[in-house]
Symmetry: C2
C-alpha cells in the first residue's frame, strides 16, 4: 500500500508542501488539515484588502479546498484542527469543527506547518469589540465589518513591524486618524534606528502619530471610545486598536508531543526540515532557523522562507537531495510613498553577536539624474571589517529600492565581499539605473574604507568631537554651510580646498564632511596626501546626521 | 618631480579614470585630451533628448571642462585631438582644433579611452543632409535642429540594436512614421529570436514598420524625399535616416603606435587594463574584453564596463591591486511600454561556442497577482546541462524586469547554478514580488529539468513531431483548446487527467503542453509516474510557440 503523508496547516507552508509532494509522488495518500476554513490564502494581502487596495474577496483565496484537491488529489480537510500527535501510534487526533467530533488519523510521514499566532499582551483585550489582531481572512473581515459598521475616527496600532506599518497605512488611507505605539525607539525594528529616521519624517508628514519607546499597558472602554494607557502614563483615546506586536510560533502540538524545541519555543529541525522524530517534518513560522550570515539560531517568520522550507521537506520525503541553507531575513515594506528593505544582520544584531564589522552609508539616485523621475535612496552596508564579506544591508528610499535589495540579498547568499559589489555588472539604461549603480557605489565606498583609501567617522561620533583638539571641516558651499552645519565646524568649500590648505592645522585630526559624503571623500583624499595625518570622512554626510538629530 | 599621466578621451572612461587618479594621487600631473568639446556627457541620454523626454541641454553635460578641472585639478583640453602616440619619446602629438596648431605632450603613463565610432556602411551617405549617426552632443543637436527645421514625416532607422531601438521610439514619440531596417531576423540582436517575437508584436502595435533580415544598399535623394533601396530590392521613401548599425572600436592611434590589437581591431589589454606597452593603459569601447562566462575574447561596447575598467586602470597606475573580471554584456532597454534585458551568453552564442547547454522559459507576474497592477514577464534561462551553472538570461516584460535581470546578472557573477536561484531569499511584499519570485520559479523549473523531474521539448521541436508515433496532449481547458492548439493535439484538461489516463497510449511518447508550462508540468509528473515512459513538457508553453509562429 502507498504511504500516507499528513500535513498540519494549509496555508503557505502546508499547501506548498502538499503540491510539491503530489508532483513528486503521484501514489502517496496526502491529507492536509487546516483548522481555519481557508487554505493557501493571501496572508500578505490582508492589510491591503482592509485599505481597499485589493477590492475583491476572491482575490484573497488563491486556492479553494476544492480546486486544490482537484488539481493535486489531496484530501483537504478544513475546519479540522489537529489537537494531538500520537507519535507511538503514528496518528494525529483531529477535531472536526463542522461536527464537533474527534477522530484519529494515521500517518507514515507528518509535516507540521502550524504557523505563528499574534501576541496579545493581555488576554482580556482580545475580548473587547474594538481590539483586533490580523492573521487570517476572518480577522480581516472582522476589521472591515467593524470599520463599515462603526465608522471609527481614531485607530491605534500597537507594534510598528511589517504588519503594524501596513495596517497604519491602510487605515490612514481609509481616512482614520492613526497612531502607532512601538516599544523600540524606532519603527520597523529590523531596521537600525538611524535608517528609520527618514521613515519617521515621512509618516509624521502623512499625519500619523508616533509613540516610540512605549508599550500599551491598559485599555478601558469609556464613553468617548477606548482609553489607552501607555507605559509612561500617557493616555490616548481610540475607536479601534490593532494589536500587531509580533507573533509567536504555534508549536504547542510539537511541544506536547515531546519534539525538540528551541529558541522561543520554536520547533527544531535539521537542514532537511526533519524534527527530532524522523517521521515528522516541520516548516514555516513555527520553526527555528539558522541565520544564513552568522549561523546562529533565529526565529524569522516570513512567507518566502516558509515556501522554500516546504519544498525542501517534500523533496526529502520523496528522496531528493535538498537542504535549507538558512534564513537571511530579507524583507521589504511599502510605507506610503517610501520603500524600506532589509537583508542579513542589522547593526544591532552584529553588535550583540560581537562581530567585528564596519558600515558605510551611501545616497544614490534610482536612475540617471538626467532622465526624469529619479529619486534617492540611502543604502547602509554592513560588512566584516577584515574580509569585507557583506553581513547585512538596509535601504530606505522610493523607486528601485526593491531591485538593489534583491541584488544585495543575492550577494549575501553568494558570500560576496564589498569588493565584489564594486565589480557587479548590472543592467544600465537611463530609465533604470546609472552606469555606476547604487550597489556599485556602495561597493566602491566600502572598498575604500576596507583598503584604507578612506577613513570614516559616523553620525554618532560627531557630537562627541572636541573642537579644541580636532578640526571639523565642512567642505560644502558657503550657502549650504550657512543653512546649518555641525557645531564648531569651519567651512572651506571643496573646490577651493587646494588653495586654502594652509588655513588648516596639519597636526590636528581633521573630521571632514559634506552633504552626503562624496565631496568630503574627495577632500579627505587631498588632505591625506598633503601631510594631514589623521583625516576622517563623515559616512552618510551631514544629511544623515541631521535626519537622526532632528527626530 | 611628480609623474605625468595623459588621458586620451574625456567621456565615460577618460573622465572616470581622471577622477579616480586624482583621488588616489593628489600630486600627479593629469592631462585629459578630448577631441570634441564636451567631456563626461550623458551619452546614453542622447536619444531621450531628441525625443523630448530630457528637456534641457544642460542635463546632457554632467560636467563642464571647467567644473571638472576645478574639482579634480585636471588639465582638461577639449577640441584637442591626439593624432599620434610616440612611444619611444613617450609623447603624444596633439592637434588643437581651436588654433589648428599641433604640439607634443610628454607622458609617464598614458591611458587610452578613445571609444567607438558609428559604422557607416557607405561613406557617401554621411554627406547627405538627412542622414545621421548618433554618438555625441553635436550629433544630437544636428538631429534636433533638422527635425525642427524640416519637420520630417518619415524616418528610417537602420539597425535595431540598443541605440536604434531608442531612436525609433523617440522619433515615434515626436510624431514621425518610423521604419526599422535590421540585417538580423529580429530586433535587438543580443536577444535570441524567439524572445524578440513579443517585442515585434509590441512595436508593430505602436505603428512602427519592421524590415527584418534586410540591409540598406542605397540612398538616393529624390523629389519626394530620400529613396532607400533594401538588399532584397524593396524601396522605401524617407525624410530622414538614422544609421545605428553598430559601432567599431576607434583604435587607430593604438594600431599606428604598434600596440597589440585583436578582435575587430580592438586594443588588447591584460586584466589590469595594461596594453602591450606597460606605460600605456586602455579602457572602454575600444578594447577587447574577456567574456565573463566563456572566457572568450569579445567586443562589448557598454558604459558600465567602461566605467569599471577606468577605475581599475587608475587603481593599478596608483599601485592598488585591482583586476577586471571580464564582461557579461548585461544590458537593458526600454521599448515603449516594455522592458527587455539580457546578461551573459545568448543561445546563439552558446551554440556557436559548442557549449552543452539547456534552456528553460518561465512566465511570471511582476508581483503578487492579488495586488493591483502586476504584469507578466518571460524569463529565458540558459545553463550548463551537467552542472546547472547559469550561462545567460534574457527577460522580456514590463515592470520588474530590471530587478530580475540584476539578480540574474549577480548570480552569474557569483557563478551560481540554477539550484542556487531556487534558494535565493529575495524581498517579498505584495507590491514588489511574490513569495516565490520569478527568479526562484526560473530556478525551480531549471532544477527540475536538471534532476530529471521534468523532461522538456521546445517551441522549435513542436512542428516536427509525428502524431502517428507520439501523443500531443493539450492539458488546458476545453475553452482554451478550442481557441487554438498545436496541430494534431488531443485535449484532456489537467484536472480530469487522472480519471482519463486510459485514453492515452502508454507506449507512445507523450508531448504535453499548456499555456505557459505549469499545468503541463503537473500533468507530466502524473504521466511519468503512471507508467508513461517518455513524457515531455513544452517549455514556455503554447503561448511562446504561438508568439514565434505568428510573427
Amino acid at each position: 500500500m502507498s504511504r500516507k503523508i499528513v500535513i498540519v496547516g494549509g496555508v503557505a507552508g502546508g499547501a506548498t508542501a502538499a503540491a510539491r509532494l503530489r508532483r513528486l509522488d503521484e501514489n502517496a495518500r496526502i491529507v492536509m488539515f487546516e483548522k481555519g476554513e481557508h487554505i493557501s490564502f493571501a496572508n500578505c494581502g490582508l492589510p491591503y484588502y482592509i485599505g481597499g487596495v485589493i477590492r475583491s474577496k476572491d482575490k484573497l483565496t488563491l486556492q479553494t479546498p476544492e480546486s486544490f484537491s482537484r488539481r493535486y488529489n489531496v484530501d483537504v480537510r478544513v475546519k479540522s484542527e489537529v489537537i494531538r500527535i500520537n507519535r507511538q501510534d503514528k496518528t494525529v487526533t483531529v477535531k472536526d469543527h463542522h461536527t464537533g467530533n474527534t477522530y484519529e488519523e494515521a500517518y507514515d510521514v507528518l509535516i507540521l506547518s502550524p504557523g505563528a499566532e499574534p501576541m496579545v499582551p493581555n488576554p482580556d483585550w482580545a475580548r473587547l469589540d474594538a481590539v483586533f489582531t490580523l492573521r487570517s481572512i476572518p480577522d480581516t473581515f472582522k476589521i472591515t465589518e467593524y470599520v463599515q459598521r462603526i465608522n471609527p475616527r481614531r485607530a491605534v496600532v500597537v507594534g510598528a513591524g511589517y504588519v503594524g506599518m501596513e495596517m497604519a497605512e491602510n487605515l490612514h488611507q481609509l481616512g482614520l486618524e492613526v497612531s502607532i505605539i512601538e516599544m523600540a525607539d524606532h519603527v520597523i525594528p529590523p531596521l537600525d534606528a538611524e535608517m528609520a529616521a527618514e521613515v519617521h519624517h515621512h509618516i509624521l508628514g502623512k499625519g500619523i502619530s508616533l509613540y516610540l519607546g512605549k508599550g500599551l499597558t491598559a485599555i478601558r472602554q469609556s464613553a468617548g471610545g477606548y482609553e489607552l494607557t501607555l507605559s509612561d502614563g500617557e493616555n490616548l483615546t481610540a475607536d479601534m486598536v490593532i494589536l500587531a506586536a509580533g507573533v509567536r510560533p504555534d508549536s504547542r502540538l510539537a511541544v506536547e508531543a515531546g519534539l525538540e524545541t528551541g529558541l522561543r519555543g520554536c520547533i527544531v529541525t535539521n537542514d532537511r526540515m526533519q524534527t527530532s522524530d524522523p517521521s515528522i517534518y516541520a516548516v514555516g513560522d513555527a520553526i527555528e532557523v539558522k541565520d544564513f550570515v552568522t549561523g546562529k539560531k533565529v526565529f524569522v517568520p516570513l512567507a518566502s522562507p516558509a515556501n522554500k522550507q516546504a519544498r525542501i521537506a517534500a523533496d526529502n520525503i520523496c528522496g531528493l537531495d535538498s537542504t535549507y541553507g538558512g534564513t537571511q531575513g530579507t524583507a521589504i515594506l511599502k510605507v506610503f510613498d517610501m520603500t524600506v528593505a532589509v537583508t542579513g544582520n542589522s547593526e544591532r544584531a552584529l553588535k550583540a553577536a560581537g562581530v567585528d564589522y564596519e558600515k558605510s552609508y551611501t545616497y544614490s539616485a534610482s536612475h540617471a539624474g538626467y532622465y526624469p523621475g529619479a529619486t534617492f535612496m540611502t543604502i547602509k552596508l554592513l560588512f566584516e571589517r577584515k574580509s569585507g564579506t557583506i553581513l547585512g544591508a538596509q535601504i530606505v528610499g522610493h523607486q528601485g529600492v526593491d531591485k538593489r535589495m534583491d541584488v544585495l540579498a543575492t550577494a549575501i547568499r553568494a558570500r560576496m565581499t564589498v569588493r565584489d559589489l564594486a565589480g557587479l555588472e548590472l543592467a544600465y539604461a537611463p530609465p533604470f539605473g546609472s552606469a555606476k549603480d547604487p550597489v556599485n557605489i556602495a561597493g566602491y565606498v566600502a572598498s575604500n574604507i576596507l583598503n584604507g583609501t578612506m577613513r570614516i567617522f559616523h553620525w554618532h561620533d560627531a557630537d562627541g568631537l572636541d573642537a579644541s583638539r580636532a578640526t571639523l571641516l565642512d567642505v560644502r558651499t558657503e550657502a549650504e554651510f550657512k543653512k546649518g552645519t555641525l557645531k564648531n565646524a569651519v567651512n572651506i568649500p571643496l573646490d577651493s580646498l587646494r588653495e586654502r590648505l594652509d588655513e588648516l592645522d596639519k597636526n590636528k585630526p581633521v573630521y571632514v564632511f559634506c552633504q552626503v559624503g562624496f565631496r568630503s571623500y574627495v577632500a579627505s583624499r587631498i588632505l591625506m596626501q598633503k601631510g594631514f595625518r589623521e583625516v576622517y570622512n563623515l559616512s552618510g554626510g551631514y544629511r544623515l546626521y541631521k535626519l537622526v538629530a532632528s527626530r
